[in-house]
Amino acid sequence: MKRSDLRFVIFLTIPAVIFILAFFAYPVILLVFNSFFDVSLLSLKERTFVGFDNYTSALTNAKTVSVFLQTMQYTFITLLSEFILGFIAALTFHAIGKKSEVLRTIFLFPLMVAPIVAGLLWKFMLLDNFGILNYFLKAIGVLHNPSELAWLSDTKLVMFSVALPDIWLTTCFVTMVIYTGLQNIPVELIEAAKIDGANAIKSFWNITLPLLRPVIAAVIILRGIDAARTFDAIYLMTGGGPMGKSEVLSLRIYLTMIRYGRFGDAAAMATLFLMLLLVLCLMAFYAIWKPGLSKR
């Protein structure tokens, strides 16, 4: 490693480093710093040190706890649905083989659609009294009456309803990543297993799944993070209602700050949220990925 090399690397990276320090690291540090103060919304300079008060008020608030649980619920619903649907779709495309290209092309069309648009169109389809989904369910005999399911105003149902746009939007991404993983498994391995007498289920369980491990880990981590920090679609569909039953952490932090003007609380919650996501990521990273283990 020549010294001039290092100088050149620093020269190349310094603009990006400065940007990240100024507009990413500094804001995050400011956030953590402010979470220990009672900050006036009008001016950052008017602040008084309150220690962990913001944290205790945020953590002892029953609302925060329920929003946290709802965020977990949302993440779990979307992740599980996308994973199961995505896996089935990927296996189907894999079974069809080369002929699946047209189908895959159509399947991927929502890949780049904005979450806000997805939220809008699902809200439109789920509208009480006017939504087409309930009329469809009635037509196929699932419902007796189109107003039977109030997707967006039923407190028990709403969390599933607001998860629909994300499932619709990103199952294709999960499918694509798993499909690529499946394509990369050498055919010889599966055939060798067949010769050794393994049936389809056995070879799937013992060969396909272990080989897909890094791909599955990547999907779970990436999609898990995205689901946990969701905002757009829920903001548009319900605004967190009815009675806060569809509020998630990002939305709660936004509302705490903008609507209720409690910046200290918002900062404390945002800091906790940030640490929680990072810890979960690291745990998932080591638990599922097991960097050394995949080389068996």
Partner: protein, 276 residues
């Protein structure tokens, strides 16, 4: 035996096509609704196809003078943020991958962590910083907000493209008398244009589709299209006709682009995913 196999595959295709039809249906419904008359948009029972195709909902858009502005704002903000993202990310990603330094590795891990931070945890303090500098509702504020998302992703994605380039190419250019910087500009960048293009599209769409940063950092002058669409949801009571036509205008170009560039986008998305 072969016949049977063909039959099974044929069956798979039919099942997959049926599932696809259900999958595509919601979006088709949105687009078709935008061509209904404003009164027919909400009908009981709802109809899938419009009884008569009309552009009325699109004409209504013209009556709000601020609406075209929100679309041009989105275009300007996405273009500027893509330009600066590439300007910063290309040299950084190249520097990290070409020279294996500890400093570079630390930097790459930092960008990975940056991708995992909740957007709201950056948007909240950024709002205060921008307000302190009186930059709320200006292009720089939103552009910077969007770049906090696209820059880490771009560095990560570009690194995987640069990794595929043999070091010998740069060394040959050096022997021909190029400086290191010239080698990057004249040799490396031209052969990585495909990857840079993919990165550009991802950066552009990250900004075009963003809602949260625009919501925090803009108000009237630099309001972006997603905000305008969402506003029809609350401010004026929900006007579904206008909303569906705006949403169609906003998302249809994106879908067309992704159809044409699908192979490249898939490569980019999987690379960005599996590497991460």
């Amino acid at each position: 035996m072969i016949r049977k196999k063909h039959f099974i595959i044929g069956l798979w295709v039919v099942v997959a096509a049926a599932i696809l039809a259900i999958y595509v249906f919601p979006y088709l419904y949105l687009v078709l609704t935008s061509f209904k008359t404003p009164n027919a948009v909400l009908s009981t029972p709802p109809t899938f196809f419009p009884e008569s195709f009309t552009l009325e909902n699109y004409k209504v858009i013209g009556t709000y003078d601020y609406l075209p502005r929100t679309f041009s704002n989105s275009l300007i903000i996405a273009s500027i943020s893509t330009f600066f993202t590439l300007l910063l990310a290309i040299p950084a990603a190249y520097g990290i991958t070409r020279y294996n330094t500890r400093y570079g590795q630390v930097f790459l891990i930092t960008t990975l962590i940056a991708r995992m931070v909740p957007y709201i945890s950056v948007a909240v303090p950024l709002f205060f910083i921008m307000r302190q500098f009186k930059l709320i509702d200006t292009y720089p504020a939103v552009v910077i907000g969007h770049m906090t998302v696209s820059l880490p992703f771009a560095i990560w994605l570009l690194s995987s493209f640069f990794e595929g380039i043999p070091v010998e190419l740069e060394e040959a250019a050096r022997i021909d008398g190029c400086t290191r910087l010239e080698a990057l500009i004249k040799v490396i960048i031209p052969i990585t244009l495909g990857g840079i293009g993919v990165t550009a599209i991802f950066s552009f769409l990250a900004s075009w589709n963003d809602f949260l940063f625009s919501l925090m950092l803009t108000s009237t002058a630099t309001k972006t299209a997603p905000l305008a669409i969402a506003e029809f949801n609350s401010q004026y009571g929900t006007i579904w006709g206008t909303m569906t036509s705006l949403a169609t205008l906003f998302s249809l170009p994106v879908i067309f682009i992704s159809f044409f560039l699908q192979k490249k986008l898939v490569a980019g998305a999987t690379m960005g995913a599996v590497k991460g």
